[in-house]
């Protein structure tokens, strides 16, 4: 487990999502990265039901996420809130809690793609899909040997520049709060959640515009 940075790569002008992903993969392979299986991150949204929200709280959203990198775990996050790491059985628990949390099935969003290994770096290029349609591209870069985010951020950034060029992101907000403490898998999931939320909002605006 190392330090991870998750970012979105915009779809190139005049290209489809698929083509952009292929371009990125080709760049990585030219760099010398090796394919190392596939990965998948998915996220389901739960509304807090009326029973809870009636007590003066605003209806918070809860996200339940899975990551193929942590096959036995299930992550439950609130926006800006705590992150719970649980067994994979957590899903069945959520079914039991139907009365309090309602699954917004239409909001299910996931990112799937190929996993690349390049020396100590792990790169995952995924297509973000919501329902049947591809909505964007996610890139996750992990530097495995290190667990302190600030110690390796520069190295990470430099590496990302090598294949993402101008789309290299700034320092993720999660890193800012971490300072010198140990990076955990939950931080990766928070980044994914933020990315998914961003993509959802991006998509909603143009859709609304067309209508």
């Amino acid at each position: 487990m190392g330090v991870t940075c998750v970012t979105q790569v915009p779809v190139l002008e005049g290209k489809s999502v698929q083509q952009t992903v292929e371009l990125l993969s080709k760049k990585l392979e030219l760099l010398g990265a090796e394919k190392h299986g596939a990965f998948g991150v998915d996220c389901e949204t739960y509304h807090t039901a009326a029973a809870i929200s009636s007590q003066g709280q605003t209806g918070k959203l809860m996200y339940v996420m899975h990551n193929s990198e942590y096959p036995l775990s299930c992550f439950a996050l609130f926006e800006n809130g705590p992150c719970l790491i649980a067994d994979a059985n957590f899903d069945t628990l959520m079914v039991k809690l139907k009365g309090f949390f309602q699954n917004a099935k239409a909001n299910k969003i996931e990112s799937r793609g190929t996993r690349y290994q390049y020396c100590d770096f792990l790169v995952k290029v995924g297509t973000v899909t919501m329902g049947p349609s591809a909505r964007g591209i996610s890139v996750e870069v992990e530097y495995c040997p290190c667990v302190i985010a600030n110690d390796c951020w520069n190295l990470l950034m430099e590496f990302m520049q090598s294949f993402m060029g101008s789309h290299t992101p700034g320092i993720p907000s999660v890193f800012g709060t971490k300072h010198d403490s140990i990076y955990s898998p939950a931080d990766t999931m928070v980044q994914y959640m933020e990315l998914f939320n961003k993509i959802r909002k991006q998509q909603q605006v143009p859709v609304a515009g067309i209508r």
Partner: protein, 643 residues
């Protein structure tokens, strides 16, 4: 009388009790009346038995006298007692008397009849006999009829009796079958399918994933001939075992030195060990089922092993031929695991007697294989069987934490060590072989080399993959002072780790030669160490000491070691060089003053130079007296030490 006034008469009953005495005041003391038995005893005392008896049969005359006497006695007694009827022998006497009378009469009559003068005896006239012919015939018919009726009744009774006996037996057998079935159910899983009773032989309920159905059928074995004698081992319940599980089977594991011809593979071990002489008749269902289950388990082990042998990639691929798996744990060495299944038919029995291989079984490994497969079963079982914690799969503690602590793929895979059966057994075989070879090496060295001595202390309790032996190198008679070399050999799977007494760790490979060379060099060092220890005891001074001498001829094994010691007064010095190959070389340095043949140099004119040491001379070591090196050295030192 009438004029007389009435006189009151008081009547009181006569006192039944006798008065013993009358007191002065008029009170009477009574005697207690006699009880019946006391009374009888008293009366019996009064009879004179010798008088009356015996005389009665003699003759009438004496008899007459006999009965006259008691009457007199009676008269006397009657006077005294007034209660003759109470005499208990009265009726006896009367009867005897009347009998005597009759006898006398009969005697008289007979005596008269004998003379035939006054009396004759005539036969009494009988009734005429009944008419003969017809009644006899009728009687015969009626007798016959009644006999026939009686016979019929008897026959019917007999028939009913035999029927009930047969029924009883049948019932008994049925009951036996049921009780046997009950006993069967206590040990085996049974279920009823249609009109058959099927049982389960397989280890599936114990966690086996082997595909063989392992079903047996329970048969009612009651249609036995009633007339014949029932054999002793008769059992009303029998089991039908699937044909491929019949006979007996076992897994054979052996290690052979060189690979046999590929042509022999698979057939060599096909038939082993003649079937143990089975008793005539059918074995009991329990033994039958147990052997069948054993066959099934052996088949499962072999199937698992051969599957792994094909899947696992090793440097030298494992060979699976027919019923044999061959693997090469070490070069030039072959581990063969074979499934020996001998069925009951005569063909295999014949060939079994022909092919008897004396090659050793590795029973330990065979046993371990069984244990390993059971462990596998247990593992699969524990993950399936209820009850479970609802939140997580039941298993290793770290596995349970894997979810909540978000272990990634690498960490999870490191938790799951799924080493196969074959890998484990090969590792064990390697270890066993390495252990044996080490023991042999040490033993052969110990028997070949007498000085110094090697002692090996094997630990009794081993791990399947590791065992240890402590090796001591000593000199006979000097065990107390020469304790320098103590080696701990940890024998692993691929290599031997030697831990020296001073903490050095040397890793040797599985090659036999390495260990041998190492031990040889240690032995040679031991001699020099021993000299050092001896010098301390003898009061000699160690001038120089080296385990690894860089000078002199090069040894092919290890290095030579050397020591120089000086006598207490410094006159003499002994220098020893000992190499594993070249052996020992002992030199003695004499004081210059003792050397006559030393050329007088021009430079060393002064007398003081005589105190310098002179040249070395070699000792002809093999001509020295003494049973071993250290003893010889002790003698030499003693000889050079001035008194």
């Amino acid at each position: 009388m009438a004029g007389v006034p009435a006189v009151r008469i008081s009547i009181e009953s006569a006192c039944e009790k006798q008065v013993q005495e009358v007191g002065l005041d008029g009170s009477e003391t009574y005697l207690q009346p006699l009880s019946m038995s006391q009374n009888l005893a008293r009366l019996a005392q009064r009879i004179d038995f010798s008088q009356g008896s015996g005389s009665e049969e003699d003759e009438p005359g004496s008899a007459g006298r006999a009965w006259a006497e008691p009457s007199e006695a009676e008269d006397e007694e009657g006077l005294v007692k007034f209660q003759p009827s109470l005499w208990p022998w009265d009726s006896v006497r009367n009867n005897l008397r009347s009998a005597l009378t009759e006898m006398c009469v009969l005697y008289d009559v007979l005596s008269i009849v004998k003379d035939k003068k006054f009396m004759t005896l005539d036969p009494v006239v009988q009734d005429p006999p009944p008419p003969k012919q017809d009644p006899q015939f009728l009687q015969l018919i009626s007798k016959k009829k009644s006999l026939a009726g009686a016979a019929q009744i008897l026959l019917k009774g007999a028939e009913r009796l035999s029927k009930s006996v047969a029924e009883n037996q049948e019932n008994k057998r049925q009951r036996d079958f049921n009780s046997e079935l009950l006993r069967l159910r206590q040990h085996w899983k049974l279920r009823k399918v249609g009109d058959k009773i099927l049982g389960d032989l397989s280890y599936r309920s114990a966690g086996s994933l082997f595909l063989h159905h392992g079903t047996f059928e329970v048969i009612k074995n009651t249609d036995i001939d009633l007339d014949k004698k029932i054999p002793e081992d008769y059992c009303p319940l029998d089991v039908q075992i699937p044909s491929d599980l019949e006979g007996s089977a076992y897994i054979k594991v052996s290690i052979q030195k060189q690979a046999p011809d590929i042509g022999d593979l698979g057939t060599v071990n096909l038939f082993k060990r003649p079937m143990p002489k089975s008793k005539p008749g059918t074995p009991h269902w329990q033994t039958k089922l147990e052997t069948a289950q054993n066959v099934l388990l052996c088949k499962e082990i072999f199937a698992q092993l051969s599957r792994e042998a094909v899947q696992i990639k090793s440097q030298i691929p494992h060979i699976v031929v027919k019923n044999q798996i061959i693997s090469q744990p070490f070069p030039g060495l072959q581990l063969s695991i074979s499934l020996c299944h001998s069925s009951n038919d005569k063909k295999s029995q014949k060939s079994a007697s022909e092919k008897q291989n004396p090659e050793g079984h590795l029973y330990v490994l065979e046993h371990n294989l069984h244990q390993l497969i059971r462990e596998c079963h247990k593992q699969t079982l524990s993950s399936v069987v209820m009850p479970h914690p609802a939140s997580a799969p039941f298993g290793h503690k770290r596995m349970r934490l894997a979810g909540p602590q978000a272990f990634d793929k690498n960490e999870i895979s490191s938790l799951q060590t799924n080493e196969g059966l074959l890998e484990k057994i090969i590792k064990q075989a390697k270890h066993i072989f390495l252990r044996r070879r080490t023991a042999r090496t040490i033993d052969s060295l110990a028997s070949r080399i007498e000085d110094p001595q090697i002692q090996a202390h094997w630990s009794n309790i081993n791990d399947v993959y590791e065992s240890s032996v402590k090796v001591l190198i000593t000199s006979q008679g000097y065990e107390q002072i020469c304790k320098s070399i103590q080696l701990q050999l940890n024998i692993g799977v691929e290599q031997i780790r030697v831990v020296h007494r001073d903490g050095r760790v040397i890793t040797l490979s599985h090659q036999e030669q390495e260990l041998q060379d190492f031990l040889l060099s240690q032995m040679s060092q031991h001699q020099v160490h021993a000299v050092q220890q001896l010098a301390k005891v003898m009061g000699w001074h160690v001038l120089s000491f080296s385990n690894h001498v860089g000078l002199g001829p090069v040894e092919s094994i290890g290095n030579a070691s050397a020591i120089t010691v000086a006598s207490p007064n410094g006159d003499y010095a002994i220098s020893v060089r000992n190499g594993p190959e070249s052996g020992s070389k002992v030199m003695v340095q004499f004081p210059r003053s003792q050397c006559k043949d030393l050329p007088k140099g021009d430079v060393l004119q002064d007398n003081k130079w005589n105190h310098l040491r002179g040249p070395f001379k070699e000792v002809q070591w093999n001509k020295m007296e003494g049973r071993n090196f250290v003893y010889k050295m002790e003698l030499l030192m003693a000889a050079l030490t001035p008194c």
